[in-house]
């Protein structure tokens, strides 16, 4: 979808100085926190239990302060001078491969840093309250710090090797945190599932890195972006598709989407931080960061758009049918990341809006996940929305902040989601009307499932379980909710005067402007109408009728499919797991019978020969003497034969 007219910006950073020379500290703080908490927490659990969570929270706050300082510094710089690199040390030098541990700070990294450290800090604060009664809270904060450090490595690295290091680091942290309550079998299984599916994506990413090294002799963004134009479209398409595979795994895009819903087994702050706001958007970051690859590979971009469109509808449909509040939100996350991917796939015109939606989504989705956590906190960790209802009185702050997030995600005019989603739909319609209509439809479905979630949770009748007394969460948990709710409302200001597009221009390039088929205002009006229709449908279907406490089983095919994640798991089981298992079983059987059999037969043969010949060892020295005599006889005969021949 890229047009040949515009120029792809180069990564051409200058050396770090001033406050930028402290760039490494942004990563080092949470990394040190993770090391201290994980090692110290194991050595002196009692001492760390008293202050470990505070230490763990201070680290990302420190990183956030640094990020803010760097952001302000960068803003003051000349536009052409907004890329800074810091060389820390030589990471890998083997043969031609020379990868330094280099950190890159540019406008894209700046925004990500603020999002990760800012939202991360808020979620750390929230976790102090949420995990208060967990005996392994220090370890939890150690893992959270580890995640933040890895995520920062991912977005700050100047080359693909460092990016891959962070990529695997967040994968590890995600695995550890999904399975944090490892005593639950479902949590352990979900962690394993996330890990395994991510390996498929990682295979794509690592192959892409190898391809980049083979093609350009380097893995540095600087070198690759400089040489991307000469590498040929086929290579770029292959690399783009491989990068997309990696992005699909990490960002839960179809066909590697199956792990995200199970990942909700982790503690809710984890779902908010890793599986809503930051880690799952790493795929979007990867596509936007690799814009110099995708801009030369229009076919790969088309595939990105197709994947994104399918995913945004897929996730939205799943979100409609789930009764588990976290899984409904997870479906919504899938869908929203689909929007971002769609934006990223649209090329320079959409990169900025993808990142913009990523930021606003990071705020409102984190807000809603934390709100859901707050609800669960009050409902004794029950996640079934059919057991909720009428909670707006019981937990007013949670309700109001959640409502802000709700209005943001459905795109209520004026709220952040309205601006960001609208821009993506608008760009999509301008590029391809089918994709645009799908995105528009997705917005309507979003309105439907989010309204359903709101009504089932906060309105209607009380359907609470016995002995459940909903109560508002402590202020340490509501404070992050309020901050995030405020951000959900106002973060649309980033679009004022096209600021974010302009800010990201050094990274994403200047898009060509071409007139949309219908005026932008009409698109906006259309989108609002579609969303309103979705909301009205939800009100008509959910609010007007009593919600049964048990999910009805006599439902349409579409509902059943959506409840089963549109048969994603079933597909995986049938197409990959079962044949794989059959293959493994067959191989094991063959190994047992043929390979082991050969060896066992040899062993039996040798053993049999031994059993026969050892009879000669009867312990009688005279028998041995007899064999010596036989030997003498043979030697004498041989001598005679030689001498007399």
């Amino acid at each position: 979808m890229a047009e040949g007219g515009h120029s792809v910006p180069l990564v051409d950073p200058t050396s770090a100085d001033g406050v930028f020379s402290l760039m490494w500290l942004v990563i080092a703080l949470p990394a040190a926190g993770a090391a201290v908490l994980l090692i110290g927490g194991a050595l002196a659990p009692r001492a760390f239990a008293s202050f470990g969570h505070l230490l763990g929270t201070l680290m990302p706050i420190g990183s956030f302060a640094l990020s803010l300082a760097m952001f302000l510094q960068l803003q003051g710089r000349d536009e052409a001078d907004r890329q800074v690199v810091q060389h820390l040390w030589t990471f890998i030098r083997v043969g031609e491969l020379d990868a330094g541990f280099d950190l890159l700070y540019d406008p894209l990294t700046a925004l990500f840093l603020l999002l990760i450290t800012g939202v991360g800090s808020l979620i750390h604060v929230y976790s102090i309250g949420y995990m208060e009664h967990d005996p392994r809270r220090v370890r939890f904060f150690g893992y959270l710090n580890l995640f933040v450090a890895a995520m920062l490595v991912l977005i700050m690295s100047e080359n693909y090797i460092g990016l891959f290091l962070g990529w695997e680091g967040v994968g590890l942290a995600s695995y550890l945190l999904i399975g944090f309550w490892q005593h639950k079998h479902s949590a352990a299984a979900a962690a394993k599932k996330a890990f395994v599916i991510n390996r498929v994506g990682d295979m794509g990413l690592s192959t892409a890195i190898m391809l980049a090294f083979v093609t350009f002799g380097s893995v540095s963004f600087t070198t690759i972006s400089a040489g991307a134009g000469e590498a040929g479209e086929k290579t770029m398409t292959a690399m783009g598709l491989l990068l997309l595979l990696g992005a699909c795994g990490k960002s839960a895009q179809v066909p590697l989407q199956a792990w995200l819903l199970d990942a909700m087994e982790g503690p809710t702050p984890v779902s908010a931080l890793i599986h809503a706001a930051t880690m799952v958007t790493a795929g979007v970051y990867l596509v936007v960061r690799s814009n110099f690859v995708f801009d030369y590979a229009p076919n790969a971009q088309t595939v990105v758009v197709i994947v994104a469109t399918v995913t945004l509808l897929w996730g939205a449909v799943i979100g409609c049918a789930k009764d588990d509040i976290k899984k409904a939100l997870a479906g919504s996350t899938m869908s929203q990341i689909g929007y971002m991917m769609l934006g990223a796939g649209l090329g320079p015109a959409g990169y900025a809006f993808a990142i913009f939606h990523l930021l606003t989504h990071g705020f409102f989705k984190a807000n809603m996940f934390l709100g859901a956590g707050s609800v669960m906190h009050g409902m004794d960790d029950d996640v079934d929305m059919r057991h909720y209802g009428a909670l707006r009185k019981a937990m007013p702050i949670t309700f109001i902040t959640f409502a802000m997030g709700y209005l943001a995600i459905i795109g209520f005019p004026g709220f952040s989601g309205f601006w960001s989603k609208d821009k993506i739909i608008e760009t999509a319609l301008a590029e391809n009307w089918i994709v645009g209509v799908c995105a528009l439809l997705g917005a309507g479905v979003t309105g439907f499932y989010m309204t359903r979630l709101m009504i089932m949770t906060f309105f209607g009748e009380k359907r609470w379980e016995k002995d459940v007394h909903p109560h508002e969460s402590p202020s340490v948990m509501t404070f992050p909710l309020i901050v995030l709710a405020a951000l959900s409302v106002v973060s649309g200001v980033l679009l004022l005067g096209g600021w974010i597009e302009h800010w990201l221009e050094p990274v994403t390039g200047v898009p060509d402007h071409h007139e949309p088929p219908i005026p932008a205002l009409a698109v906006t009006g259309l989108a609002v109408l579609v969303v309103a229709a979705g909301v009205a449908l939800a009100v008509a279907l959910v609010a007007r009728r009593p919600v049964p406490r048990e999910a009805p089983t006599e439902v349409s095919f579409a509902t059943r499919a959506a409840r089963a994640d549109i048969y994603g798991d079933a597909f995986n089981d049938q197409v990959i797991v079962e044949p794989g298992r059959a293959l493994t079983t067959g191989l094991v059987r063959m190994d047992r019978s043929v390979v082991d059999g050969t060896f066992r037969a040899g062993v039996v043969l040798v053993g049999g020969i031994g059993a026969l010949t050892r009879r000669a060892q009867n312990g009688y020295v005279r028998s041995y003497a007899l064999s010596v005599l036989g030997g003498v006889l043979l030697v004498v005969l041989a001598l005679l034969a030689v001498n007399l021949a």
Partner: protein, 100 residues
Amino acid sequence: MDSVTPFIVLSSILFTIGAIGVLTRRNAIVVFMCVELMLNACNLALVAFAHQYGNLDGQIAAFFVMVVAAAEVVVGLAIIMTIFRTRRSASVDDASLLKY
């Protein structure tokens, strides 16, 4: 018959008889005697060849064989005594525990 061949043949016969004795007798002392018989048969051959070739080396060799035989008898008989002391038997077949 100006040759030592009859001596050599006698030596072979004595050697064979000694070997058969080693294989068939069970009393360790008699087995030992048969070994001595074999050694003596060898000595006879050595001395006979010394006579045949007019060279004293054969006699020297026989002399050394005697010395070695003496040493061997001393140690061998001591071993037999030790075995007898613990097993109350001088039969070579009784010491047959080291087997499959």
